[in-house]
């Protein structure tokens, strides 16, 4: 049955060319466009980008280009803005992922129960995911603006703010703005993936647990969590990397300001490339960020292997 399809009549050795065709040529007929595009637009620029980190490439100073060894990284080491951006990246990522995950888990558990109008509710709560990022950023920036947005007034009425001012302009509070927008935008992702995982848990397990007299909390910690654990591990890891790289929201809402208090590494990369046209330095920051993310992923994978063994 394996050879029937591609055997051409009149060939002397019937098996070999068709074998060769099926395993070496035919798949690549379907794959070539994808491979060529990815190689040309992503992999080749990636290699060039890494090489830029060791060169002076500044479009504003075209005559001072060339290999500079580790000079970009030495500059990075003594760049106060880099360390500030690194700290901010940590808080931005941690704050966003914490609220996205727990609110997303809560939503997934709610959607996994029965209630009237579930389809409509599901479509409505997933809607933020469909909003283009630049528009989410603008919308939240407007909501935080006391002239046209209600949030500062509400926060002042609740006593959280002393008076209605724009927290995006406050050095100590500004990071909460993009984090809120990111949580709003990211809850649906966790809710969708965790809901899919919840739906694959066999219902008999809960019935058995109930017959044995387990409380709701016990079946949550002994059945639901263990079943969700692999999905949680992979989504949290992927999402952390994705959020750490995610520059759009902050770039549109605050541009990294005020006084760099919301500057994270990815916005620093973008502003260095886009405004200063210093591609060498931007690439050095990017390589540093990539290195940090690889270390993070490696630690998480090792932890996961250890935990699974026990």
């Amino acid at each position: 049955m394996t050879m029937i399809d591609t055997v051409e009549p009149g060939k002397k050795s019937r098996a070999r060319p068709s074998f060769y065709f099926r395993y070496m040529v035919e798949p690549y007929l379907y794959l070539t466009p994808a491979i060529v595009l990815i190689a040309l637009v992503m992999l080749v620029p990636l290699v060039i980008g890494i090489s830029y980190a060791f060169q002076a490439v500044n479009l504003l100073r075209p005559f001072q280009s060339g290999w500079v060894g580790l000079a970009n990284f030495e500059a990075l080491w003594s760049d106060r803005k880099f360390w500030l951006a690194l700290t901010n990246t940590f808080w931005w990522t941690l704050g966003s992922i914490f609220f996205q995950f727990f609110l997303g888990l809560g939503l997934a558990m709610l959607l996994n129960t029965q209630f009237h109008g579930k389809r409509i509710v599901q479509a409505l709560v997933f809607l933020p995911w469909a909003v283009p990022t630049f528009l989410s950023a603008l919308t939240w920036a407007w909501l935080f603006n006391p002239t046209i947005g209600p949030l500062p007034h509400w926060l002042a009425a609740l006593g959280i703010l002393s008076e209605p001012f724009n927290i995006l302009g406050d050095k100590n509070l500004a990071m909460w703005g993009p984090v809120t927008a990111n949580v709003w935008f990211g809850i649906p992702f966790f809710a969708i993936t965790l809901l899919a995982a919840l739906q694959s848990i066999p219902g008999e397990l809960y019935e058995a647990a109930e017959i044995d007299g387990a409380t709701a909390w016990q079946s949550f910690t002994k059945i639901t969590l263990p079943f969700l654990a692999p999905m949680i591990a992979i989504t949290v890891m992927l999402r952390t990397i994705w959020i750490a790289n995610f520059a759009d929201l902050i770039f549109v809402m605050t541009g990294g300001g005020p006084a760099n208090s919301t500057q994270i590494l990815s916005t620093y990369i973008f502003t260095t490339a886009f405004r200063k046209l210093d591609f060498g330095y931007a690439s050095a920051i990017a390589v540093a960020l990539l290195g940090l993310l690889l270390i993070y992923a490696a630690i998480l994978l090792v932890l996961r292997r250890k935990l699974v063994k026990i």
Binding site: P27, I35, M42, N112, L135, W142, F251, A286
Partner: protein, 280 residues
């Protein structure tokens, strides 16, 4: 499971309160966007923070459509997004079909390369891409955006299409091939009609992604004629930062296409991911 559990009235109330909170949190920002867009200019500062406007108007939409360049931005964005979605889906369908139906040499390497493209910061290649695009003279052209976005979206679209092909039994096209079709004919006549929902979902995903991309468009486009919607809206915001009503009207217009697509694809989301989860 939930039918079994004794639900106290307190728990039920709590559940509906929680659902209400999620719906309000999800919809409020969008409501506000529409609200300011339909508030007449003269009321924006007096009633800017009231929950409902006392009068409403479509003047802002009219002004945005007629007196500004938004129609041109809109057209550019439609060209880029539709072009990217169509080309990506065609290429990804072919690649996904190969992954789903063939065992071949180099498969693992190619899958690994595709996964790598999903892991590194895309901003890493913004500088090289700028230089390459400048070198081939494609700065400020929509073609460069279509090519770049297509490449960015192919890996994910390929995995998505593969999972849709995996859901269709192999026997179908094998039967067709025994009856004398070539594999490509079998693919075109038997398999493609069955994957139409999958193709639709992929088109929707890629369209939305291309519709909202900002940073590469900002870098590669700076002439007003070829600006896409995100870039145009952002320059509009920094230029006319007092015209709230018009900005929000433009925002509402940007929201419409992606919401339409979302309504179309959202029922495939959980479905597609569930089958993926079952496969492990």
């Amino acid at each position: 499971m939930s039918a079994l559990r004794k639900s106290s009235p307190l728990a039920v109330t709590g559940k509906y309160l929680a659902l209400g909170f999620y719906i309000a949190f999800a919809l409020f920002p969008l409501y506000w966007l529409v609200k300011i867009a339909i508030t007449p200019d003269k009321l924006i500062f007096t009633e800017g923070t009231a929950l409902f406007p006392s009068e409403f108007t479509f003047e802002n939409f009219q002004t945005v459509l007629i007196a500004t360049d938004f129609l041109s931005y809109f057209k550019n964005s439609v060209i880029v997004s539709v072009g990217t979605a169509a080309i990506t889906t065609a290429i990804a369908a072919a690649a996904g079909y190969a992954f789903s139906r063939f065992a071949f040499r180099g498969k693992r390497v190619i899958i690994a390369l595709m996964l790598i493209t999903q892991m590194f910061p895309l901003l890493m290649i913004i500088a090289p891409i700028y230089k390459i695009v400048a070198a081939v003279g494609l700065l400020n052209s929509l073609t460069s955006l279509i090519i770049v976005y297509t490449a960015f979206n192919i890996p994910f679209a390929t995995f998505l299409m593969q999972s849709f092909f995996d859901g269709i039994p192999k026997d179908l096209e094998e039967a067709g091939m025994i009856d004398g079709c070539t594999r490509f004919e079998a693919l075109r006549k038997i398999i493609l009609p069955l994957t139409l929902p999958g193709l639709g979902a992929t088109l929707g995903f890629v369209f939305t992604a291309a519709w909202s991309e900002l940073l590469f468009a900002l870098m590669l486009i700076n002439s007003n004629d070829t600006m896409t919607f995100p870039v145009g809206l952002l320059t509009f915001v920094s230029k006319f930062s007092v015209d709230w009503g018009q900005m929000m009207a433009a925002g509402v217009l940007a929201l419409v296409p992606s919401c339409l697509f979302f309504i179309f694809i959202q029922r495939y989301l959980v479905q597609g991911l569930t089958s993926g989860a079952v496969k492990g």
